[in-house]
Amino acid sequence: MKVSIKVNGQNYTRDIEERTLLVHFLREQAGLTGTHIGCETSLCGACTVLLNGNAVKSCTVLAASADGTEVTTVEGLAKGNELHPIQEGFWEKHGLQCGFCTPGFLMATVQLLERNPNPTEDEIRHGLEGNYCRCTGYHNIVKAVQFAAAKMRGEAIAAD
């Protein structure tokens, strides 16, 4: 079947099998391999993308059901060479090690901060409970999100 999805502002129209998952569409049809597959069962969050602005786990969305939608992946987060504040936060606060979970965390954080621009540590931890990270113990991910939140609120960033 023919499916058209606008990914990071660009249209991808492809002829695919009905059962193709959105994550496979993104990785294999659109060639955007920044979205990762960690479980294919909606539990790890590595495949998180924004679908019409909402964070979804793209391993449990059929590409067919995303026909006509707009998707943002990690590749679409920066504006040209200018990193998104969330990307900056993860870099600045060492919020990643192996980097495999990172795209999912970045996209989940977009939604978290949209809904709550000034989250407490608890709210960050609850807000990101759908994403696994095996490397960081989450400590620096919390810091990264706090950094991003402050920056997005336009506040000066305190040094450690």
Partner: protein, 788 residues
Amino acid sequence: MGEKFFGKPIKRKEDPRFITGAGNYVDDITLQRQSYVAMVRSPHAHATIKSINVDKAKAHPGVIDVILGQEMLDAGIGSIPVGWLLDGLKTPPHYAITVDKARHQGEIVAAVIAEDSYTAEDAADLVEVVYDVHSAVANPAKALEGGAPQVHSDAPGNVTFNWQIGDKAATDAAFASAAKTVKLDLRNNRLIPNAIEPRASLADYNRGTQEYTLYTTSQNPHVHRLIIAAFVMGIPENKLRVISPDVGGGFGSKIFQYPEEIIVLYASKKHKRPVKWNAKRSESFLTDSHGRDHVTTAELAVDANANITGLRVKTAANMGAYLTLFAPAVPTYLYGTLLAGTYRTPNIHCEVTGVFTHTTPVDAYRGAGRPEATYLLERIVSYMAQELKMDPAEFRKKNFIGPDQFPYQTPVALAYDSGNYVPALEKALAMANYTKLRADQAEGRKNGRYIGIGFSTYLEACGLAPSAVVGSLGAQAGQWESSLVRVAPTGKVEVFTGSHSHGQGHETAFAQIVADRLGVTMEDVEIVHGDTAKMPYGWGTYGSRSGPVGTSAIVKAVEKVVNKGQKIAAHLLEAREEDLEFLEGKYQVKGSPDKAVSFGDIALQAHLAHNYPADLEPGLEASAFYDPANFVYPFGTHIAVVEVFPDTGKVEILRYIAVDDCGPQINPLIVQGQVHGGIAQGAAQALFENALYDDNAQLLSSSFMEYALPRADSLPSFEIDHTITPSPHNPLGVKGIGEAGCIASTAAVANAVNDALEPFGIRHLDMPLSPPRIWKAIQDAVPAQAAD
């Protein structure tokens, strides 16, 4: 050498690609004409394969081939070998695709190759296997009982080895004359590594050069090449190139050579096209080597002054159905040798039986043997303190090896080169505000709040070395590391290392060292790893060896480059070599900084060789191989503060304090990250994670639904600090930190929970300290208490 970068919390060079989705993991690589393989796996833990019918699968549109074990055996593909031998070790063959029997759930019985992954999966379901199912055994203690189902006919009683260390007679005598002894039965729960990137492999055979390229998720590409080429495939080692690009976490699980890697290589040659395999998470659970799984009895003896006089340990270690690469070393030389910990324990005896069971193979998982030893020792030390009605910190302090006792020879082979344990403990106690914490705990108990405080004053031995010693202990590998430093005419530097980064940040930390020593910028230095065609021969990254061993090789190679540059500089400056010094990127005549030539100019001259010393080879590069003189011995104090909620049995970690000593820190940001991640993994063993098998050896915790990986809201932020005691024997004085957090934290958390449960009269509970287990123990304990 100016230290502009060493010791600084520099943001990582590798991060921009990861935060923009430009990483390059194995699954991101697509080759032309790539085909896919899906595995047919045994659903049974123990079954004879009576027949396999592949007709329907082969007839399925898009299927290229179905491969069975016999075919690979006939083609001369060998068994996947064990890399560490012990006396009398039983090593039954381990074939990529089993031929006769399945010995654990998930073992591969057939491989289906197809044009795309969806088709391969569909066709795998069409392979018809008829099994004769037998009874199976998963628990190592049960597997040792008479009449237990047997895993291998050539390993009677399911025993793969019996091993011991220490002086049994002296230890027994210490117990006979002890003022007090305690005994604990401990279950060290089985863990599943669960790196977030599932394993993946892509093989590409080149018909013209007869060369194989294997892209695979490996922590040690050269080890993969050696084992697979020489021992499994029987091909010349130089005809196999192993590329391990960005790797999404390893934790030990990506050290080993797995059946799937052999299958894609074989199929790629057979069909003259690339073949790819990606693990689904369900396959990761069933087939990534697991960790831990000990059944242990431990006893500790003290004299009348509360000095530890003896430790006696008996362990049944579950090895799973087959022995993988390092498996025999993990519950022996990486376990028994660590049982002295930070304590003066004059007599130790440890006996380990390696046991085959119908389960996934067990091998190194973050810490490998050392977490098991540390959990046992730190748990029984706290238990003894409680028995003696002594404060657990005091009891530890009293028994610490003193700072004046180094080098310290333990009774279990290791000789500690340096250490200073009290300052780390004192620092952690101060951070915790310990006196107040104990007062709060006492106050809480009056009001029905159950707070527990747990210690782990751990020590760990990492950077496995020297090669001759590990060789004498059974390692079939060297444990040195290598590096090649190549300076381009423009002064840009490439550093090729045998270490492999799968999250550790080598591209940054290693560059800091090189940039300082050559007086160049961080941007001028490129760290290259993960490709056997590029790097010098190396042994890879595990056992926290990249810091102490990998960087030492780099330092040595950089020194050679600097020394060669000095010869060129002497020629250009018409000075004597010994009159020159190399400072901040310039060779200058001592005392006259105006007579100087920059490193960049030297690099150019080395390549032009126009105005050049007559007896010197052109070019500016050097390689080095570094074989350390000893292990390194990081240590520290971790304190966990937990609250147990008796109504639900739930545990909350209120605070977690860690003071670690890994010597001088190359990059504190990276060190802290390693500590955080390690604490999380170790704490998760204590509270959440458990690989559970049923009586038929079926894995019950086989997905993220049943296996409780810690989430962001399962843990607090950690309070961490450090002390610095350099290692005396490597050039930077550094010690590994990749595993320390994981080694220390399990015991700290378990001790804290057991401490919290003291008012209920509960003396010891096994891990994981999950709500049902705690709730039940409290229910069982409360009536007993009421009766007192």
